[in-house]
Structure formats: structure tokens, C-alpha cells
Amino acid sequence: MTYTSTLQGEGAASAPTHLNGAFLPEKSKLFWLALWTGALTIVTFGIYRFWARTRLRRYIWSSTKPGGDSFEYTGTGLEKFLGFLIALVVIMVYSGILQVVLDFIGYNLWGEVISGPNDSMDDALIQTGLTYGAGLAILPLIFFAQYRARRYMMSRTRWRGLRFAMDAAALGYTWRVMLYFAAWSLSFGLLTPLATFRLEKYMTDRMWYGDARFEQTGQWTALYAAMKHQFIAVGVLLLGAAIIYFGQAVALGGNVMIAGGLWLIFGFVYYQVESFKYLTAHKVLEGKVHFTSNASSARVIRIFVLGVALIAVLVVGLIIAFGALFGLFALAGGGLDITGGDPWTEIFAGIGLVAGLGAIFGSLVALVCIGAFVIVFISAPILGHYVDTFRVENAEPLEQIRQRAGDNMVDADGFADALDVGGAF
């Protein structure tokens, strides 16, 4: 025990052996911050988004207070902007070439498949195939970006004045993800626990708080317990299919399958929450400090469903306001993203430019409002639930931990920004 204070003050008289997480944002403040930074992002044609993201993080971090002391986010918008520029130059060359080549392959395939006069199914098929092709080619870059983004956020996070950090190991992470991703696909998802556990372990074992290292202990097979609802859901789906196929009772079988589908969704959330709880309970800091999470999947689902319902009600108003303009815009611009080529521009050029711009502006305003709603009613409450049910056990050894040197990442989380895989905050 090294508390030097003997005076009045929170937690000074008797130091707790555990610290409770606490998430205490003011909803209205958070909403106006999201709305205001979103508006600035529109006005600056998207450039402000780095500062917007940074300000939101600062607010969210400072709302998170394990043991009464808030986290501090020390990243800056300028740093993010610079990181984005750096990542852009790298990704630009890669994806520009990729896009043209894939399109070329697409046109070749397109010609191959289409024979009848009206088989738009095949168009859709090729489009989907192309999207997946592009996805596969860009996948390693995405995983690389995700690791670097997490590392950047750790390096810009402080608690009680000490920095968090993560080792520079994005490449090792990338090829491991690709490997586990392949194993996951080939096993039809049965190896999900293996991928979840090993990747989390890879990252956790490289995480630091000050000069103290985190470690992920536990067994990957233990995560199968978290998958039980997914297994049940698959069973229900198969039962429904069997009823339709063998029993010829389409209505009954259909209802059973709908139930199975809903159960599967629940199963995914349950897995997320339960695996998080298991992994948290088996994380150790400096060999001494332990953690627990009492998050509840039912609670997460309730927050999500209530949030969606609330947002839906709020959005109806926005839709009425912008509906007319939006319809016009859909006609004027709907075709542009299909080929983007000359013929489309020529066809649609005749429809009122002013109305189109108005509709674009209206829909952007609506998007910003919806984005702010999502943060306030869904993302932040779910994060809050995780934080509130989080506990640091045996907190005394924390006092012995010392500061570490800063980690200068020039590219910040620019790759994640450029690829738009940043996550909720």
C-alpha cells in the first residue's frame, strides 16, 4: 500500500482491492458532440472526420472510469490526418490497379456467363463474385489495418497517467488471420473458437500497461461452450427444413426456420459476449492483476433492439422531411454507380442538378443525425454495459507499475481510416 494521502478524498481511507468499471457520459452532451462534429465533417467535405473521430474518442475515453479515474485519449486529429495521407499513398497504387484489373476480369466473365436476353440473375451473380474477389484481394490490408489501428489506440490511451502500448507486430498478425480465416472457412465455422482465441492471444500477449505486460491464458476449446446457441439454432434450422422436405408442412417448417434464424442471431451475440467474458477472465497483467466481466448478452440485445426501435421512430420524421428530394435524387443519381461511364452521365445529366444537389445535402444531414443517434442509443450504451460490468481484481499491484516511453506511429490509424474499418469509435 503506497497511498500517500491521509486526507479526505475518494478511496484514500481504505484502498479497494478491486476496481469497478464505470461509464458515465452525459447523453445530451455526447449527442451534440456527435452532431456538431458530423456537421463539420459535411461542411469540410469529409476532411474534418479525423478531428471528429478524435473528439468523440476523447469524450468516450474520459467517460470511462475504472476505479473512478478516467481514461485519457491523447491522439490528435492532425496526427490521424497525416496517417491517413501516408496510408492513402500506399493503398492508392494497390487498389487503383486492382480495381481496373478486377473490372476487366468481370467484363470477361460477364460475357462468358450471359447468354439469354434477360438473365439479370447472372449480372447480380457476377457483381457479387467481383465484390468478393475485391474483398479477398484487399483482405490482408484490412487485417493489417485493424492491428495497427488497435495499436495506435492503445498507444494513445492513458490511465492514471500511464500509457498503454502494443508491440509492432501487424505483419505477423496479418498472416495469422489469413491462416485462421482459411481454417475457419474450410471448417464451415466450426473452428471459430480457435481463430477467436489464438488471435486474441496474439494481440493480448503484445499489450502493455506502462511497463507491465498482459497475458492471455486459457484454452481455445473452452470457447465451444459460448457457441452452444449457434449449434442449437442450426439444429432448429435443419428441423424446419426437414419438416418442409419430409413432412410437406411448408407453413410450420417455415415458422420453425424463422425461429431458427432468430436463434442464430442471438447465438452470434451470445458468442460475442460469452467469449469476451472468458477471454477477459483469463487475461493477466504482470502475472498478478486479474479481470472479470459480467456482461450479459440479453442486455446487449435489449439495448440494441430498443435503440433500433427508438432510432426508427426518430428517423421517420427525417424521412418525411427529405423524402421528396430523396426520390428525385434516386432517379438522378441511381445509375451513376453502376458503370459510372459516359452513357450514364449523359442520360441523367438532364435531370435537375439543383434538385439533385439538394437531395444529396438532405440525405447527408439525415445521415449525420442517424449517425449521432446510433452513437448515443446503441454504440455508447453497449460499450457502457461492457464497462459497467467490468472489474479489475486484485488491483494493488497496479501501484508498482511504471511509465513507458511513447510510441511514435507516423501512420497513426490511417490504414483503418482509408479502408473504413475503424469500428464504432
Binding site: A12, F45, R55, D342, E346, A349, Q400
Partner: protein, 381 residues
Amino acid sequence: MHWMSVGHSKVAFTWVDARYFDGLSAQRRQVFVSLDVESWRLTIHDSSGAELDIWPLETLRQLRDDAGGGLVLCSGAVDPGEARIVLSNARAISEIKAACPNLTKTTVTGRTWGKIGVWIGASVAAVALMIFVIVPALAEQLAVLIPPEREAKVGSAVLRQIERVFSEQEAGDWHCTNSEGQMALEQMVQALQQGQEFPYPIQVGVVDNEMVNAFALPGGHIIVMRGLIEIAEAPEHLAAVLAHELGHVAQRDPIVQALRAAGTAGLLSLVLGDATGGTVLALAGETLIAAKNSRAVEARADDFALAQLAKAGVSPEALAEFFELLLEEMGDPVFGMGWISSHPPSAERAAHAREAVQTARSYQKSVSSQEWQAIQQICAK
């Protein structure tokens, strides 16, 4: 805790308790801070009364967008220092806010600006290089590799999509099917193909729409809109436009353009981010780049048109006349988009067309007046 007045309005405080993190260890300490306006300092004492640190007021920075309700301070003009003070006493907070001039100031060093400049330059150069050099070159080379029969199928697919859009827009037939008109039109196009080998059969059709527009799709499809036929004052004007679009088909411009646009759109959406203001800019940028790239392409199509008009025995002057016709009508906003937007008429283009006219030669009508009437009636039901 003591409060005291300094001068008339300046108030300072002493021994206000606060939380202190020294930035060296994870310890939380209760400390006392004193604000001395005379000497411009914030002094931090530990619980035993020993002086821990002294922070000059001009170096004090507060953490912004803080949800804590209190005030978190650090000290450092450029880099925020490692140590933190967390104040929750409302009165002390307002005193500090009144006394410290730079609480919310951020200082960006010249070196940082330099780095930003370098990387902005590099990314602009990379974008420009990709959009104006690499993507167009790649598109052109890859387009050659697409077999004509496949391109034709791509064209039919695009045509189907256009059909979908038009049948949503206005119920009923979007395609004009008057058989006499269609025959006359095909005859006109046939005459303009003299001496040219096309990789696929040319298919021409009229769309029942008032816009003044015509365009070529991949695979040899040429679409003319009713508005363009209506504004033409003579069959030769229509023939000139058709010859121009045939030029695009001969050069395989539509497929090159589709490939290029896909690359450019992907790049621009990357630069400008997701569903924010970037979308508008991406659309505008794509249009601008398409317009800029197409100048040389258009000039080639014009030259092709002039040669083919002459071969068909039609005076190249028709193209010049049609451009002049468009120039006159330019002021009309309804009219101002369509073919004009992708084919800006200019005196030079008209003059260039007129140069191709051989004065010694006598030209004929492209189709008979009966056939021209049939074409004009092609959308009649």
C-alpha cells in the same frame, strides 16, 4: 482551503485538494494546488506540505472534450507533459479558467506542418498519377484484350439496365418501334459504315425521351433520344451525330471509359471517405475527369465522322451546322445538359468540320425526305 483577492478582480486560491498523477507510476495521489496570480504559477504540494511541482500558468493546458465534469490539467507548451492534475472544485476551476490564457491552445510545430505538406504533396501526386496516367493507360490496354463478342454482351446487359431505369421512370414503351422509321434509320447508319470494319454489328435504336442526346454503349449499341431527332433541322444533322457516335464505337471508347470510370471512382471514394460530403465531391470529380479525358477522344470521333460523312456522300458541313445549332440553343437550361454536356459545341469544332468540306464536290441528301419523315415519326404510336 483559503480564498484571497489580488488587486480588484483577480482572485487566487491556495490549498485546494486535487488528484495528481505524476506520469511516472500508476499511483493516485491526493495533493493541494495553489494558484498564484502574482507569480503566474500553479504550485502543487503533497499531503505532507512538500512542494511537488510548479507549473507556469501559460504552459497549462486542459484536456478537451472531457466528460468528467471536472478539469484535467497538464503542463507543456508543445507536448502535453506526463503529469496530470484532476480538479473537481468548481470555484477553483473557474479561477483557473480566468487566469490561464492558453488552456485550450494547441501548438503545432513547423516540423509537423512540413511533414503534412510533404505528404499532402505526395498523395496529390499519387492520386493525379493514378487517375490521369495509370488508370487510363491500363483501361485502354485491358479494353483491347476484351473479345468483341464479350463486349457485345456487356453492352446488352447495360442496355437492359437502361431499360429498367426508363420503364421505372415512365410507364409504357421506352423504345420507339415504328418499323418504317427504324428501317430508314438503319439505312442511314449503314451508309455511314462504308469502308469500315466493326468488331460487332451496329445496333441503333431510338428512346422515347425529350432529351437532346445520343450515345454509344459497349458492343456497338447506339442510342438516340427523341429530343435530338426533333431538334435536327435536316436528316444530315442526325447523320452527323450518328457518324460521330460510330467513331466512338470504332475506337471502342465506351468500354475503355467504363473500365476507366470504375478505377477512378474507386480511387476517389478512397480519398474522400464514406457517406459524408465526400460523396458529392466524388461524383463531381468523376464528371470533371471524364470531361477532361474525353477531349482527345471526342476530336478523334469528330474526325472519324467527317471522313465517313464524306464517304457516304453527305457534306461534312452538317456536323458544323449541328454544332452551331447547339451553340444557339445553349442558353436554354432544359436543353443545356444532354449531348451538349458531353460534347461541348464550339466555334473551333464547327470550323474544323467546315474545313473538311471540299468545295469542288457536290453532296447529296443522306436519306430521302420521305425516309426522313419516317424517322421523325419513329416514336409515333
